[in-house]
């Protein structure tokens, strides 16, 4: 289901308009608050929901998996570098998640591609893309596994 805006919380800053990949978040001409101009075209990517500094945008879940009474809300905390989700089920069950969205301060780890040396002939002839990790490759030397590439299993996740 598409996004909608809590009009009393929106202050018309324009971050949702800026970030919407479908260009369907716009500013209402009369009230100067954001609104979804074309709900049919909204693919619920949550970009605007996460970008809104006032948490004024919400998404109604589809009735089959998120019936009335549920809530899925998100808070993207740029300063702390985390994103938090709170999922409330209709029966009162609540799930909370907190995950990193960056590991380095914003804007300080942008690769300087201009300084990267030009690819050698061997690299140009290779099937790998720039910076593509070796273990993604499936074309030669048998099947690469996560262990064979030095990754360790920790709590169900390979690092």
């Amino acid at each position: 289901m598409p996004t909608f805006v809590y009009m009393t919380r929106c202050d018309g800053c324009g971050h949702c308009v800026d970030i919407c990949p479908s260009d369907i978040m716009h500013i209402d001409k009369t009230y100067r608050r954001a609104y979804n101009i074309e709900p049919n075209m909204c693919w619920e990517c949550y970009s605007c929901v996460k970008a809104c500094p006032q948490n004024a945008i919400d998404v109604r879940g589809y009735a089959d998996f998120a019936p009335l009474g549920h809530s899925v809300r998100v808070q993207r905390d740029e300063e702390k570098g985390t994103i938090a989700w709170k999922i409330k089920f209709r029966n009162g069950t609540e799930k909370n998640f907190l995950s990193p969205i960056t590991t380095k301060p914003w804007g300080q780890a942008i690769p300087k591609l201009a300084n990267v040396p030009a690819p050698s002939k061997e690299m140009r002839d290779s099937q790998l893309l720039y910076n593509e990790p070796k273990y993604i490759r499936m074309d030669e030397g048998g099947l690469h596994t996560l262990e064979s590439n030095g990754l360790k299993m920790k709590k169900g996740v390979y690092y």
Partner: protein, 280 residues
């Protein structure tokens, strides 16, 4: 110019009682207009219903002392410093307009009720503050109107396009602008134009106070209440259903997904907010 009291000179041609009744009527219109707005839009009903809902979802009870602390925080951060704005330019223009309006209204009331006649001259500071207040309104208001307003800055609408939503800001800046021009013309002794601008000043001021049910004038009463409720809902854990987990919490720092941020600074700086939202 900044020490010339226009109301004292006006009292020579308009009875003092008329001036005072006009100001009293405007004050009455603020109260009546706000109450009508509350009743008509049912905002109070929605507000208290929201408060009750938040109380039902609360995870802990917020005590009286804590509520006083939250009220002080709301008054200092959200009201006095316009802390809810995320756009700093908009925040500054709001602060200019807000403090300008307060100074303008208080000094107008002082000059009309305490020093209305030339025989009882107002202290120079009061008169100067009236001018400063009006200039602050003009500065903050025109800055907002021509440059910061989102439909001008972001949607490319022409700045002179008027909508009903503009009633408050337009009548406010016009009241201050016409007031300043009227005071200046009166001091310069240009009789005809003085009367023209006095009429324009009165029209703009009357629209400002009489148009409350149709304008956003009463946001100055609603917004602090909403900001207080928002802080209370955060304190009682309901937080408008928003997540309450943060990285500050030592328990959260132990989660395996947070391992990646173990050595990262607690302040990562600004991400998408490093640039103004003007990429569309």
């Amino acid at each position: 110019m900044f020490t010339h009291n226009p109301f004292a000179e006006l009292s020579a041609s308009v009875p003092i009682a008329v001036m005072q009744i006009y100001v009293a009527v405007m004050a009455f219109l603020v109260v009546a207009g706000t109450l009508f707005d509350v009743w008509h839009k049912r905002s109070a009903q929605y507000f208290f219903q929201n408060m009750r809902d938040a109380k039902t979802r609360a995870k802990r009870t917020v005590g009286g002392g804590e509520k006083i602390g939250i009220a002080v925080q709301t008054a200092v951060v959200d009201v006095a410093a316009s802390g809810e704005f995320c756009n700093q330019k908009r925040r500054m223009s709001h602060l200019l307009g807000m403090y300008g309006f307060i100074i303008y209204v208080v000094t107008t009331a002082l000059m009309v009720f305490c020093y209305p006649a030339a025989a009882t001259p107002a202290p120079a500071a009061v008169v100067t503050l009236w001018y400063i207040g009006a200039l602050m309104i003009c500065l903050g208001g025109y800055w907002f109107w021509f440059f910061i307003r989102v439909d001008v800055a972001a949607e490319g609408q022409p700045p002179i396009r008027l909508m009903r939503a503009d009633l408050f800001i337009i009548s406010l800046v016009l009241s201050a602008t016409f007031g300043l021009i009227w005071a200046w013309l009166q001091g310069a002794g240009v009789a005809v134009w003085t009367n023209v601008f006095l009429a324009l000043y009165l029209i703009a001021t009357t629209v400002l106070f009489a148009g409350i049910p149709w304008s956003k004038f009463s946001h100055m009463f609603f917004k602090p209440a909403a900001a207080f409720e928002k802080r209370v809902s955060k304190a009682n854990g309901s937080a408008q259903n928003l997540p309450t987990l943060t990285r500050d919490d030592p328990e959260q720092q132990k989660r395996h997904s947070m391992e990646l941020l173990q050595n990262a600074p607690m302040n990562m700086g600004l991400g998408i907010k490093r640039e103004a939202p003007r990429h569309y």
